[in-house]
Symmetry: C2
Subunit: 104 residues, 2 copies
Amino acid sequence: MATDQRVVRIAELEIVPSQVAEYTALLAEEIAASIEREPGVLMLHAVSHKSEPHQVRLLEVYASQAAYEAHIQTPHFLKYKTATATMVVSLRLIDVHPIMLAAK
Amino acid sequence: MATDQRVVRIAELEIVPSQVAEYTALLAEEIAASIEREPGVLMLHAVSHKSEPHQVRLLEVYASQAAYEAHIQTPHFLKYKTATATMVVSLRLIDVHPIMLAAK
């Protein structure tokens, strides 16, 4: 079996409640650009808790560590990071092992 | 815009540490069967924390509430649920809003 070089991660973010709508728009824009322009960004799924919309969770899959390093230097990522800096109360990044990633 | 009838959810599970390998195999089998056999199961992504492999997280997307109700009555889901009943320490289901779900 080929070695799985993918980088898989969960991000847990808490957003300033009054800025959730603005944050969400910026995040959606950044995800769309990343998936469209970066071959090494394989999956970016972002959701918010229905009962607590300021609780945002992401599941991120990159083709490799190099793809991730390249991602965080792109203009669209840097724009998102700068624009949302004051909107993010906390950010926890969790390295995870893919048990199974399956979609239609 | 068409109404989005999808049901999107996160599941947070804590597994008995000594049974993680067995649990993971049963979960992977259940996910494969669901995606293959059920048109209404759109996405089932399961991961475990690298530093705490007994912490399992799922991102689940169903086409509709009816698709979800059908899913939990399938033989493969019931087999998984029964076989893993004593392996699961805790299960938290969180209804979420999809900000953006994007993959290659």
